[in-house]
């Protein structure tokens, strides 16, 4: 763009739309699976931490320290390069989902730990006094309350997982960022591609935030948890 000024050519986007759409689908797929898996990891390990389940709690603490204490980029390279050395052969899409799940799961473990810790003790005690055994107290009292409490933090982590899926381009997982930056590299259509990236990521993030706030509002209308 140094020469005579850059001419923005939207038709480049149309021309590459099939590739870009495929990249977007991969971004959406890996992010969705990563977000769901990260939430499940967070739920299980967060509960183990909050209720100090022997062994599981220590394993969870070490896992959180490792994955929150190292860059996600390093984690992606590690999973991509090291797992085959250990005899675990995964295709690049599987590594992609695994990396997002493990990274998001470490944050969600802390999110869920805090949420379970904030469940009012009086409600759990009342459930015990009614004769509800521990597994029913967990399933019907602790879990639904913790879910309401965890939603804002879970939403933030999920949005990070979605955005950080862009890092997966470094292992040639052909998600949106990979596809777009390749087009930049081969055809020098910088602004068209970055416009696509900006608009698409922003759109996905806004959509996710909106969905989460709808769930939060729906649950808040059915009994706030904070003050009761």
């Amino acid at each position: 763009m140094g020469e005579a000024g850059y001419v923005f050519m939207p038709q480049v986007i149309w021309l590459h739309l099939p590739q870009l759409a495929q990249g977007l689908l991969r971004t959406l797929g890996a992010s969705a699976l990563g977000i769901v898996a990260a939430a499940l990891i967070g739920l299980v390990f967060g509960a183990a931490r909050a209720y100090r389940v022997p062994v599981a709690s220590q394993v969870a603490a070490a896992y959180v320290a490792l994955f929150r204490g190292t860059p996600i980029l390093v984690q992606i390279f590690f999973l991509y390069d090291a797992l085959p050395e250990l005899g675990i052969r995964l295709d690049v899409a599987e590594v992609a989902v695994l990396a997002l799940a493990l990274w998001g799961g470490s944050y969600n473990t802390e999110n869920f730990r805090a949420a379970f810790g904030a469940v009012p003790g009086g409600a759990l005690q009342a459930a015990a006094a009614l004769g509800m055994p521990a597994h029913l107290r967990f399933a019907w009292i602790a879990l639904p309350i913790a879910f309401r409490l965890v939603l804002p933090a879970l939403g933030n982590t999920s949005i990070s997982v979605l955005k950080d899926s862009a890092y997966l381009s470094v292992i040639a997982f052909a998600e949106l960022t990979y596809v777009a930056t390749n087009i930049v590299a081969t055809e020098f259509r910088v602004f068209e591609m970055f416009a696509v990236l900006a608009v698409t990521y922003l759109g996905m993030v806004l959509l996710l935030s909106w969905g989460l706030s709808r769930i939060t509002a729906h649950l808040a209308a059915r009994g706030t948890v904070g003050d009761a």
């Binding site: 009086g122 009614l130 009994g223 706030t224």
Partner: protein
């Protein structure tokens, strides 16, 4: 670990709850120093005393929310430690100072969640009974309200109805009106009074002396982890024998 004495007495004449030499310690702090007490079926026992005297701890030992370090507690003639924990608790209802409603559930669901999940009783059956009980505590119109939408007095009445859903043999009230604004205390006491009139066996920890006198069959005065004095409400509250009881009653009437 049934006691021989209790096996010889016909069940109908046996006290519902027998507390024998119960001791309880929190660390080095002995909060119950050998409590002996009985609660007969249909009786309303009111437990009074200064804070820290062990009243609440005693109640919480009855349904095993706290374990005991000595002595024994019999419920319907059987040691409470012989019951499966949740079986025991289904027979002993408890109402807490802070209401402790489930904040994520409507009043109706607060009542039905335990029977629905424990006994897998059909929702319709539970809800019919829950509506009945809500009506009984004067909250028929509040079935769909969430705890945060209810006043303290309403929350506590829901909590009482919730405990009654399990059809307990005895109800424990742990300072049920202490967290309430003064103008809301009356509505909760009225429900408790109605319950007593209906013949419910009750153990009530409270600072409401008028309630103790009018509703209690017996008043137990505790201080320092011991029962100092007990007897008919008028006797204990109007003509106490023990200096410590007199001192306490004088202090709270000021």
């Amino acid at each position: 670990m049934r006691s021989r004495a209790s096996e010889q007495i016909p069940a109908s004449l046996r006290p519902l709850v027998e507390v024998r030499g119960v001791k309880k310690r929190f660390g080095s702090n002995e909060v119950l120093k050998g409590i002996d007490m009985t609660i007969a079926g249909g009786e309303v026992v009111v437990i009074v005393g200064p804070s820290g005297s062990g009243k609440s701890t005693l109640l919480r030992c009855l349904n095993r929310l706290e374990g005991i370090d000595g002595g024994e507690i019999l419920f319907e003639g059987r040691s409470v430690s012989d019951y499966r924990e949740h079986d025991l608790r289904q027979r002993i209802g408890m109402v807490f100072q802070q209401f402790n409603l489930f904040p994520h559930l409507s009043a109706l669901d607060n009542l039905t969640i335990a029977p629905r999940k424990i006994h897998r009783t059909a929702r319709a059956v539970c809800e019919a009974r829950a509506h009945e009980l809500l009506a009984r505590v004067g909250l028929a119109a509040k079935a769909g309200s969430y705890p945060s939408q209810l006043s303290g007095g309403q929350q506590q009445r829901v909590a009482i109805a919730r405990a009654l859903m399990m059809e307990p043999r005895v109800m424990l009230f742990d300072e049920a009106t202490s967290a309430l604004d003064p103008e809301l205390i009356g509505e909760v006491l009225a429900v408790m009074r109605q319950l007593a009139d209906d013949g419910m066996t009750m153990a009530v920890v409270t600072h409401e002396m008028q309630f103790a006198r009018e509703v209690g069959n017996r008043v137990v005065f505790m201080d320092g982890g011991q029962i100092v004095e007990q007897g008919r409400p008028d006797a204990v509250l109007l003509n106490p024998v023990e200096p410590r009881t007199r001192q306490f009653l004088k202090r709270i009437s000021q």
